[in-house]
Every structure is written in structure tokens, then in C-alpha cells.
Symmetry: D2
Subunit: 320 residues, 4 copies
């Protein structure tokens, strides 16, 4: 077995989209991928030192934020996001070799799989019963075991379980993707690449009408683009929210750093979740990740403007 | 059986918090409550005319927005929210009469029940196995059937299934509540009560940095308070969101109407979800719902200001 | 003499830039132009019914707002702006025929003339004494009377006073212009032309830090462009200001009307000063005024969007 | 005569409100006060080294900003504001001893004096002729010389010219005040006192509709209060403005410094005019100036919040 630091935990079992995400981040075989039973267990593997990294889903373009991941990042022992990868979610219908459509009486998959394939199922398997499974790969295992006749899962899961792909691309929305993050223990940040994302959780100081606008202004006034904002309940009652915010740029950049300081001063609390290379969505589709988006103002220019303003202020203050 | 119009569908089975919400909205026995198997089925009961009303959960103070409800409201055949009620989520441990803590080997409940009772379970039942059920009430049924030894459910479920309450208030967060809505077919709106809420879904026209601030400004500039904003993916890819927005006031009020017209002009699309009496959280705890929150500017004053401004403008335009 | 209603009062005497502005607005001889001794007297001519219209300067591109005009519009008996015209301010050196540069010992003009010609005077008449006059035309009269040797005035003043133009274009800033307005008694507004301006004075309800931003938001949120904002003291102490605001569009347009209603609701007071055809700066130079600026969203499109939103709201409110 | 550095130039002649302002700032006789003929000459006395300080009016609560002062500060050779003082503008009617009201046929004063005393003059001297003078003190001199029968001026001017106060407090608005500033050569700033003001001139980078809101946001987002904003033409044509902005706080304070850096990055140009003790209006009435306004958040607290945020950011960036 590998050194713990060389292991990467992921939300298993084998054959999930999450395994595919972990493989995209660690394409060779130098990093051992270790399947875990739940998002909590996957993240705890890093916290306990059993693994150096962990890959979990954070956001689906169909289902939205993954609550378990968000809540662990916001309220659990601190972890840092080190990387992200975007994986297209394309479902196949996996069966035992020799099974035909007409043979499928009972089928299954993860609960989120079914609504994503609703149209195909209505047209092709209107009478099949549905049984939800712990994961798509779990459903595939049940097909292999003879407990189900068919499973909705990624086609890459077929060979793990000795199954055949009876139909591919059965998802209704051809552009469905899921964003996965890789987290590690707190410590040095990934170096800035020129195309980075920074993630934080912000808790409003109070719930006056303009409180959310005040938060957004902290970014806008420094020219920092937000790529995502998602509200989550804080658990303290209806109407009490925190906000997961992703912005463009590395926290090492002046404008991002100043925006985060602004949040820190005006919010009840802010938790920094990481700065990491941004996965371009298109490049993510083939698992390459992290390419530079060309039409963005270079971070160096913005930093130079901040440095110029700082030296101007310094001259003013010193009467120079 | 009652006339369809007199039926109220709810997310069953019997003994769920949702049934309790429906009972709070229809306290006597003049309205027949009909349990449905899923949120989709509950809402479809109204769409098909099988029921006049339907009650479903929309937001948990612990788990956040209920995706199935939000997605049905945003993208399914139109429905109108007619009422809301807030129900405290207090879990009890239900067992067959005579069962002691030490007898509980296998227990279950809805997947969201377990994390809400994590601390109590760790302290009192650290070794019990957990099996997730379709609903808390389903777990109670399994206890009655002898398939489980204990179920996490509302204490009101005990009598439906002939069970005993072994422990009450086992949830970690004593203030957990769930907000339920009652929907009906499109048609006349509930009359304004002076303490109302209006819900919409807004789709950004584009994703320029300030797009969300522009939406919030439409409310702020008319003095309309937002009580909730939640982003949801539109299904068109990472980074494409719509926003569920709850604001205070009835759409019949001038300031709310003007704010919604502003949204309509500046957003790619806006779907109106309803104007309905606001459930005060405290009053909701005892199922009364809909009381006026005292420290709010009366809607009549705001409307009078709008009317004054409109007649002022009219005088200007006509040179009067 | 003409009927009072056919008279147009202007800030005299003859030969001022203001007379030129009045002539540009009334090019033929159907309207009798009547010179008045001060801005107050010019405006009072309309208030008393002695004249149907009055032309006064409101803003200089060099000197800024003309206080007397602004204060009369804000606090005097109400008047309506009916038109505007922009006149280039080009000074000539007027002398008695036969006078050479070396003969000029004492010269004069309106106090604002001198700083606008500072460089030319320093280079060409460094030793001439300066005596300020009530107006440029008054200085020209004094030259004619032999009391001064030269006057800074518009070249068009020369023939009124039998003077010669010794030097033309002696102003330092070749692009200096003054904006003049024509006002009339309250009554019907000029019809919308598709390229109009609306002017108001807004008094802040209080002086909280964001009060001015709140005012600006009323325009921004409806997509109304501001062309000018100028603060003026209210006379109630340092730190108490009102704001003269010019925006693009006619008050009859939905978006302008709604923005003004927003001001009315949120400000302590708003005085409407008028909606009138916008003078394009270039067209104003040759006295034509009022041409359409091409790259502006047609008012009809904006009005159609407002009408669409209003009918959408109406359908919502009536459950249609 | 004193050393030039010990001289304080002011807008003369003797007996003006400006002399009173200079006396309030230098109450003893250690600083020699030197009268100058114009605002330009007063400021040039500092630029040329003839005086160490200069006192000029910058803002009248009745007339608004003093254009000559603003334009010199914005576009002339740089000067720094070192102090401010607010002087109540109370006019007296000065006459030669023995003159009665009925004896006054011709009177005079600075052009701004007359409108401030309009009501008193209408009630008491409706038939007296008015001749405008270069300053109120100049009118007093003319009274002493027998050229005028009465002058509107500060009562303190009487003894300079051997005149008597026939009536006091003849101004209509009892609260009229003028703010004067003392400027010096560029160099070290006055130390922060805990109640300071900072002044800048900002030139918009372009004139898009929200440009002014963007400027205001730079202050609002850092919690810096604006005490004054005034637009002035840049001389480049109608519609091109710069903005004189006064904010509360010393540029040495973190939040003010950061706001100014934000201006510097987003504006076409920013000129810093100074940080100096704020004159409380009431204390200014008796010439004491510069007292602390109690209900303001202490600058030390704001600075501590900025320091806390900066060290938090530092920990994040270094992975500590």
C-alpha cells in the first residue's frame, strides 16, 4: 500500500463519476485512489491523515450544490480546496451481457440519476420499476448480482462490474456536468496560475435588507468577478443564511485579498475555503482541467494598478 | 370520498411532518387530506384536478431548499402558492411498546433525520445500525412491522402506527423548523392581509458581474425587503443559475408590483409563484400561522406614497 | 410693440451671448427680444406676464452652474424650462475704429471674461489695466463712450456699438460653451421629440452616507442616463445640499416618469423643472439646436418594455 | 516685518470675514496677517514663498462653492489644505457716525451681500440705491471716504474704518456661514486628531451612467462618510465634470487610505487636497474650531478592524 500522503480518497464505490474525477486529477498510477462510503468519510480520510487528498462532488449543473460537501466545508474541521475538475455526466444503461430492453423489469441508480433521464425512461422503459441505490455504481453491482435488471451509471462503470452498455447518452440534458473539488489539509496554497478561483463562506452580520448587496459590493468595487453564489441555511432558523461565494482570481492577488478583507470586516464571519486553478468547462470535459481562459484581464495588470495606488498613497501620507 | 376540490394532497405517508403542516392549515375535518408518494405526485394531484390543494415542504432550516419542490415550481406546469406554514421539526424515537434502549439494534428514518439527531444518537445509541427509509413515517411502519427496532419521526406519528415514544426531542438543534407551502391551480390570488409574502423565480439576462446586484436593486430601490434568496442551477451548465426570491408584501401592493415589473424588464425571464399570508415563525410553531408582524411599515402607507407620487407625476405631465 | 406673449426676455444688454442664444431660438423677427438687467429681472418678466418666454444662462463649460439661475429655478415662483441652446463662447477684442494694440491702456469686460482669456492677455496686453463691467456688452458701451480703450465681448456685439474687432478668438479654451435655457410659465410641456432632457431639483430626506447613492439608484435601476448633477447649498447651513439633476428622456416616457416618482417617494422634496428637446452640442454651435442623437435607445422601445411589464403584472394580479 | 514663513496671507482688505477667519486660526499676534487683493493672489503668496499660509473662502452655506478657490486647488500649482474654520456670516449696516436710516441714499457691499439681506433692505431701505463693491470692506472704505452712505459688512469692520454700526444682524438667514480653509505648501500632513476631514478632486474615467455611483461606492464600501460632493466643469465642454469630495477621516486611517486607492485605480485622475482637523460648525461660530464630534466611531476602532483583517489575510496567504 502507498504512503497515506500519496493516497487520494474519493466518494466510491469504484465506477462513480467521482472516481472519474479523481482519475482526471491523477492520471497516472502514482497516486492510489481509495473509495470511501460517504462524503463525510471521504473528507474525514484527509482530516485523520489516512489520505493526503480527497475528491468529492460540490456542484451539479442539474441538481445544484451538494449539501453534504458544502456543510462539511462550512462547519467541519477546516480543509482547503486544492483543485477542481468538471466532469460531464453522461448516463448509460448498464445490463448483464445478453439483456434486451424488453427484459428489464426492475432497474435502479442513485436517486439523482432518474430525474436526469426522465424523458428517455418514459419513452423506452415506461413500465420498469425503479429502486434507488446508494450510488450508480452500487446499482451496477446489484445488476451484476442479479438483483436488478439494469442500472443507470457512467459507461466507464461497465467494465468494473462485467456489464454491457445497452444504451448510451440516455440523459435528457446533454450538457449536464458535475464539478468536483480536491481538498487537502490546511497549509500552503497552490501557486497562482493566472486563472484561479477563490472560494469562501460568508455569514451576514445581520439580515438588514441590503446585507447581501453589501457583500456583493465588496467584490464589485474591486473589479472581482463572482462565478457563483449559493445560499445555505445556517441551521439557526428560517431566514438565517450563509453564502458560498466563488470569485475569479487567487487570494494572493491584491484585488482578491482586499475584497476578502472587506468581507472579513463587514461580515459576522468568513471562512476561507481555498484558491486553486480554475477548471475551464470545455477543457474539463475531456478531463484536462485548469486551462487559462484567454479573455480575462491578466492578474499582473490588476496587481500593478494596486501597487501604483499604494505607492501613490504612500507619497501622500508622507508628504513626498 | 370528498369532492376533488375539497381534497388537500400532501407528501405522505400519514404521520409525516408534512401531514402535520396540512392539518395546521385545515384544522377541522372539512378538508380531506390525501397522502401522496412523492413531491411530484403531490403537486401533480393538483395539476390533474384530483385535489384542490397540495402541501409540500419548500425549505428546511437545517437542510435548505427542497430541490424537488423548487424545480417543480420553476419548471413544471404552473402552480400558485396560496399559503405557507412553518412546522418545528422535533424528532422522537418511536418503538414498539415495551422496547428499551438496549433492545435497539437496527433503526431508521428519512435520510435527513439522522444528521439532525447525530449528537443524541452518538451519546445514546452509538452501536445501532442505521437503515434509511423513504420517509420518517415509512420507518415507523417498518418498526410496527418488526423490520426495524426504532424510528426517528415526529411524536405525532406514534399513534398512527401503534408505537410508543421512547425519547422525545432527540434532535440536536432545538430550533429546527421546516417551511411548507400550500399550492393551488393558477387563478385568483389570496387577498392581501397586511402581512404577506411574494415569491418569484428570476433568470438572469446574462452573467455579467453585477447582474445579481441589479436584481437586488430592483427591490431595494422600492423599499421592498427580501426574506430569502436561493440560487439553483438552470440545468444549462455550471455557472448558469436562477434565483428563488421571497420578498415581503403582496403583489397587489404598488411597491411590490413595481419591483416585479422591474425584474420583468431586466431579467431574461421571471415566473411569479404567488402572494400569500406570511407565517410568523413563532405563531407557526403552534400551527396558527399568518399573524401580522408588528414592526413593519403598513402596506397602506406605502401604497399611499405610491399613489401620491403617481398623482404628482400626473399633474406634471398634464401641466396642471 | 408686440403682445407680451410674443416677447422673449433675455439677460441684456444687447450684444451679449445671451442675446445670441435668444436669437438662435427665435431666428426670424416674429418674436421681439427684450433685454433685461439681471437674471432675476429676466425671469420675473415671465412671472409678471410682461414676456411669454425668457432666456438665461444656466451652465458654463468653464465656470460651471450659474448660481442666480439655479437658485431662482429652485426657490423662486415656479417656471418651466421649454428649450435649451448651447452657444460657443468666443471672445473678441473690441475697440474704437483706428485703435491699435499699443493704444490700449485700460480695458474691461464681465468678470468671467478675463480668466477665459488669461493667456492671450498675458502675451499681448500684459500691462493693460482691467476694469470689470456688468456685462461684456456694458464694457463695449464704455469703449464706445471713450471710458475704456478695449472690451472683451462676442464679435457680434461690435456692430451694436459701432466698434471694430481688433482680435478674434482671444479665449484660451477654444471649446468653451455656455448652455442657455428658455423658460415659460407653468403649463403644458413641450411634446416629446425622441431626444429630450428632463431637469429636476432633489432635496435629500436626510444626510445619511448613502443618500446620494439612493437618488442615483432611482435613475440607474430604470436605465435612465444622467447627463448632469450639481450640488447647491440649500441655505440651511454647511453640509445641507440640494441636487440639480438633468437626465435623458421626456417625463412622458415610462422610465423617466417612474424614476421621478421614485425620487418623489424617497426625497424630502422634488421640484420638476421641465422636459424639453435636447440641444446637441455640435448642432448648437450653429444655432440649430435639438437634433436627435443617433446612438440612443429609442424611447418607443423602452416604453414598449414598460407596457409589456405592466400588462404582465396585470395578468398576475388578476389571476389571468 | 515678520519672516515670510510666519506670515499668513488672506483675502483682503482688512475687515473682511476672511480676515476674521484668519484671526480665528491665529488668535495671538505671533503670526502676521497679510491682506491680498484676490483669491489667486492670496494663494500665490504661498506658492511664491511670500507667506507660509493662506486663508481663503471655499464654501458658503448660501452661495455654494467658491469657484476661484476650487479651480485654483484643482488645476493650479499644488497646495495642501492644513486647517478649516467656519465663520458665521452676520451683516451689519455700517455708516459714518451720526448717519440715520433716512440719510442713506446710496449704499453698497460685495455682490453676494445684497441677496443675503434682501428682506431687511426691502423693509427698511426700499429706496436706497445699490452699488456693488470689490468686497464688503471696500464698501466700508467708500463710506469712510464719503462715496457711499452705508455699507453691508461684518460689524468687526467698523473700527477699521472709523464707522458706526447702525443696525446689526440684517441678514435674512440667521444661520448663514462660510467655510474658510488655510493652505500651505506641499509637505508633511497635519497629524490626525481623531476628528479630521480629507478632501480630494476626482475626474471620472468616462461618463457612463454609473460612473458617479462607482466613485461613491469606493467610500461606502469602506464605511467612510462623505460630508460634501460638488461637481465642477473641467473646462472641456458641457457634460464633463470633476467632483470635489470631502470625506470624514484622515488619510492616515486605513479605511480612508483604501478608499482613496480605490479612487486612484478607477478614476482618470485624483488630486489629493489634504487631511486636516474638522471644524465643528457650532464651535466654529465662536472661532474656536476643531472640536471632536462625539458620536463618531473612533478612528482607532476602524483601524483595528483593518489591521485584524490584514493579519487574517496574511495567515490565509501563508497557509498559517
Amino acid at each position: 500500500m502507498s504512503e497515506p500522503g500519496a493516497c487520494c480518497a474519493y466518494l466510491g464505490p469504484r465506477g462513480t463519476f467521482c472516481e472519474q474525477a479523481a482519475s482526471a486529477l491523477h492520471p497516472g498510477d502514482q497516486v492510489e485512489l481509495v473509495a470511501c462510503a460517504s462524503i463525510e468519510a471521504t473528507l474525514d480520510a484527509v482530516r485523520s491523515g489516512l489520505a493526503g487528498r480527497a475528491v468529492v462532488p460540490i456542484e451539479s449543473s442539474v441538481e445544484g450544490g451538494v449539501s453534504a460537501t458544502l456543510d462539511e466545508l462550512a462547519a467541519g474541521p477546516p480543509l482547503l480546496i486544492k483543485a477542481e475538475v468538471i466532469v460531464p455526466v453522461e448516463f448509460a444503461l448498464l445490463v448483464r451481457p445478453g439483456t434486451a430492453l424488453a427484459d428489464i423489469k426492475v432497474m435502479g441508480g442513485h436517486p439523482v440519476a432518474r430525474p436526469q433521464c426522465r424523458q428517455w425512461l418514459a419513452a423506452n422503459l415506461p413500465d420498469a420499476l425503479w429502486r434507488q441505490a446508494m450510488s450508480n455504481a452500487d446499482a451496477a453491482q446489484q445488476v451484476a448480482d442479479g438483483d436488478l435488471d439494469g442500472a443507470l451509471a457512467g459507461r466507464f462503470a461497465a467494465h468494473h462490474y462485467g456489464l454491457a452498455v445497452l444504451a448510451d447518452g440516455v440523459n435528457d440534458n446533454a450538457r449536464a456536468v458535475t464539478r468536483f473539488i480536491e481538498v487537502g489539509a490546511p497549509g500552503p496554497l497552490p501557486a497562482a496560475t493566472g486563472s484561479d478561483r477563490t472560494s469562501v463562506v460568508a455569514y451576514l452580520a445581520d439580515d438588514h435588507p441590503g446585507a447581501l448587496m453589501d457583500i456583493l459590493s465588496q467584490f464589485a468595487v474591486r473589479g472581482v468577478n463572482l462565478s457563483r453564489i449559493e445560499s445555505r441555511p445556517t441551521g439557526e432558523g428560517i431566514g438565517r443564511y450563509c453564502f458560498f461565494i466563488d470569485c475569479e482570481g487567487h487570494v494572493g492577488a491584491a484585488r482578491v485579498g482586499e475584497a476578502l478583507m472587506g468581507l472579513r470586516r463587514t461580515c459576522a464571519d468568513v471562512r476561507f475555503l481555498g484558491s486553486y486553478p480554475m477548471a475551464d468547462q470545455r477543457s474539463g470535459r475531456n478531463g484536462q482541467g485548469g486551462q487559462t481562459v484567454a479573455d480575462r484581464e491578466p492578474a499582473e495588470i490588476a496587481d500593478a494598478e494596486f501597487a501604483d495606488a499604494a505607492s501613490w498613497l504612500d507619497r501622500i501620507r508622507t508628504g513626498g
